[in-house]
Amino acid sequence: MSQAVPGAQRDPADAGPPATRAQLPAYARAQLGWIADTDEVAALLEAGGVNDRVAEARYGAPSVFALAHDVRRVAGVPAQSAALGVQPESEGARRGAMVSDALMRASLFLTPAALAVGAARWLAGQPWQTTTGLLVVGWSTAQALSYMGFCAAGAAGVAVAARRLALGFGALAAAWAVLLAVAGVDLRGWLVSGAQLALFAANAAALVTGRERIVLPAAACSWVAAAGLATVGGPGPVVLLGLTLLAMPVLAYAPAVRRDGRTGWRPRRAQIVTAAAHGLAGAGQAMLFILVVLAESAHLPMWTALPLLAGIPLTELMLTWHWQRAARGRARLSGQRPFLRHLTRGAIAGAAALLLPLAAGLALAARAHATARPALWALAAATLLAGVQALCLILAAHRRPALAAATAWCLASLVVAAAFLADGLVPGLPAIAAGTAVLLFGYPFAFVPAVSAMIDPWSHR
């Protein structure tokens, strides 16, 4: 009769208790695994039709409980390894699925960058409302709403979560439409803004509803369209791009129209505060991207941004590896200390990986200083920024979105300050060099809390 606490009902009817008393211990072991106590055996026997009279007539025991006591005593306790019940899993298949999931997410995240490159001609001369402004607000909204979406999905299902995300992005679209109308942007500006919003909304919903695999083909088509725009041009790629940008949100938000009977979900105050912190972190990351990469991109070759593009899948892979490793540790280990040691070993590997951007950035900056090549400064800055973005993502993913936001905004503020002060302090120093110096200086301050977050067991509960 109880329905509040879920639990699968054992089906006792198919193979009832065996006919002889000697067979009962093996039967109980097979049905129950680790036998909790005598009463668990008694419940099993009774559910199989054995009452006191049957216990006496068929098994020669004075009662079900006496019979159960005897059965438990003979059945004994299984070996610990068998009792742990961990299902062996194909290591190769698991690793393959992990890598493909991470790369799929990374591909979705990279789609806006791919489109920005392909449609660079369209973006030229556009006002801030349609480019950088919407980048900051869209990135921030996507981070905040994704967090809210995950909370809603956990409490009320993906249909409710998708509807909440649609509501949030709908509100942003309406507000931004007013801003664009007031600014009087042209048709191209409206299209660029719509495309950005569609991408942010589709990626956030795909992640929350777990439809990355379904949205990815449409995203891949948009990559093809972007390549067409950049090379051959003409109406074909434009139409294809438009269609894919329509298809992505439609596919991602399909669960929103699903009727699963659940409608109501209200975020709690703590969830709203956490979502705001995620939003602030996203806005800070977008500001850093604009200040360090976009501000100088007009004068520099495209390949200088490659570390950032490579950093997204690498960060996804590292985070996925780390989470999987922690989860395996929790499934395998039975004490806090061994788990802490397990986390520390993983965090050391993670720290080594996270030091690579710092080391590479330092080497590139030294080379740029020696050769005075702005492209090398940009490459160093992009390398360091890829590392900083990874650190911010790790902090946010380990329940420290406020720290991630503080890191991103402090560094963004310092980059702005350095750009103003650099020329006064060191005449002739390019702004990108000042930005690189800020990232070099700030990197350790983000690195230490990120690594400590990876070690903290609280992050993995």
Binding site: V5, R10, A42, G49, A327
Partner: protein
């Protein structure tokens, strides 16, 4: 008389046997002002049944919804509670009670001198008292469980290995299971917990906070059902949950003013787990005779009627095999099965159809589906059958007896004590024995009628709804008359 009727997952949100019983009780005792408290999974929708005017309030207590703020100072109590639940001795039971009771009562340190509610009735203060707080939310329960698990192991307890993931899962389930302890109850004179477990948690809290006595009814045996439902969990999670439910069930049996199982079969479990025999009173379910008057005649064909939900526990396979054996003696014999296939039982229903085909009984078995009244189904047969392998105190047998139909039942749960000499009882899972009893009744009309008469008289004498309602009315009055502070601890007046 104000009574809080506490259910878990049933009345008035879900239809079924327990909800029918509750509806009969609530409508049958109009002198009572009812406060319905129902432990539910998440926030429920509208009640599935219309509620009479005597229902003053309906309080759902969700265990899986968003968490309320934590109770201050819960971590040390959680450690004591978990440590005690793993043990099996009287000292462990006392420690479990003390820790649970402390969690149910307001934390002295959290009381505020400036809070008027805290000064007058701290247990009812929604801001600083237990209501509106989930006792163990926010407590690092998984870590605590790991520690006490190690300690218990070192103390000689035989426990499976607890991985951290097991601890996470067990902690999450235990935290949710304990949430009803923070439920806010309307002012009431007594509580009627309609099951052990989570319903009893609400009643225990009311007793400890305000000295409200409680009566505990069990239709099935809650603890036994937990044993049967826990198999899907990893061993350590299963053991943690079962230890908690065992300790809680024992505590509720010990603290209840009266325990009222619906059959003596349940009583065995209750007394085994500490219910004082003097406080256990069996009150069988009742059936309204006017709804099940004797059937005027019987069909000409030798038909066996069965009513119930198509479920593995009803063991229809034995019944179908028994029909095949009956047809060897009485070739014209047929089986009429009436009842729904609940969601999740489709595979079992298919297996029944398959068995019918395999045994060549296609024209002899009717799957009639749901019926408005079991009486209509009994009218289709010369005899009524119940082949279950597990039952508490089944309504269908009593209803068949009330309709004056001879019954053949399996000897499970409270069936034999319900049937007495008013029907034939055979061992479960024994098609041949079941068939022999059917043949005996189907072949001999006089014998069939005499059995049906005895059953009818027995049902009228022991299992009328009025008799059942009177028994609860007496228990309520007795408890109210005896009501006195049940504890030496400061018990507050009902706010």
């Amino acid at each position: 008389m104000r009574v809080a009727l506490i259910n878990e997952g049933t009345y008035p949100y879900v239809l079924g046997g327990v909800s029918t019983w509750c509806d009969q009780l609530v409508r049958g005792l109009p002198e009572v002002t009812w406060h319905l408290v129902t432990v539910v999974g998440t926030a429920p929708g509208e009640p599935a049944l219309p509620l009479p005017d005597t229902v003053a309030s309906l309080t759902p207590v969700p265990v899986w919804g968003p968490a309320d703020p934590p109770r201050p100072g819960a971590a040390p109590l959680a450690a004591r509670l978990l440590r005690a639940m793993l043990g099996d001795g009287p000292a462990d039971a006392a420690a479990f009670r003390a820790a649970l009771r402390a969690l149910a009562l307001p934390d002295a340190a959290a009381r505020t001198r400036w809070c008027r509610r805290c000064r007058s009735a701290p247990s009812a203060c929604g801001r600083h008292g237990p209501p509106g707080h989930h006792p163990l939310h926010g407590v690092p329960l998984a870590e605590i469980l790991c520690e006490v698990w190690d300690l218990a192991g070192q103390g000689g307890a035989q426990l499976p290995r607890l991985s951290l993931r097991d601890a996470d899962e067990a902690a999450m389930l235990l935290e949710h299971a304990l949430r009803p302890l923070g439920a806010h109850l309307p002012p009431t004179d007594l509580c009627h917990a309609n099951a052990n477990g989570l319903s009893a948690l609400v009643a225990l809290a009311a007793k400890w906070r305000w000295g409200v006595p409680f009566l505990l009814t069990e239709h099935g045996v809650y603890l036994r059902e937990r044993y049967l439902a826990a198999g899907s969990h990893p061993p350590a999670v299963k053991v943690a949950l079962l230890r908690f439910h065992r300790a809680l069930a024992r505590l509720a049996y010990a603290e209840a003013a009266v325990v009222t199982p619906v059959s003596s079969f349940n009583r065995r479990w209750e007394e085994r787990h500490g219910a004082p025999p003097g406080r256990v009173t069996v009150i069988p379910n009742g059936v309204a005779p006017e709804r099940f008057p004797p059937l005027p005649g019987e069909p000409a064909d030798p038909v066996i009627a069965w009513v119930g939900r198509v479920d593995p526990l009803k063991d229809l396979h034995t019944l179908i095999k028994a029909l095949a054996a009956v047809r060897r003696e009485i070739p014209a014999a047929r089986l009429h099965l009436a009842g729904p296939v609940p969601s999740g039982n489709e595979v079992y229903a298919e297996s029944c159809h398959r068995l019918v085909e395999e045994l060549g009984l296609a024209g002899a078995v009717t799957f009639a589906g749901p019926v408005a009244s079991s009486r209509d189904a009994f009218a289709q047969g010369q005899v009524a059958a119940l082949s279950s392998i597990s039952e508490g105190m089944p309504y269908t047998v009593v209803e068949a007896m009330m309709c004056r139909r001879a019954t053949i039942s399996t000897d499970v749960g409270g069936v034999a004590e319900a049937v007495g000499d008013g029907g034939l009882v055979v061992p479960p899972r024994d098609p041949e024995a079941f068939a022999a009893a059917c043949v005996k009744l189907l072949r001999d009309r006089d014998y069939r009628e005499s059995v049906a008469d005895r059953g009818h008289r027995r049902a009228l004498a022991n299992f009328t709804l009025e008799r059942c309602l009177d028994a609860y009315r007496r228990q309520y009055r007795k408890l109210l008359a005896e009501a006195a502070p049940v504890d030496a601890v400061p018990v507050e007046a009902v706010p």
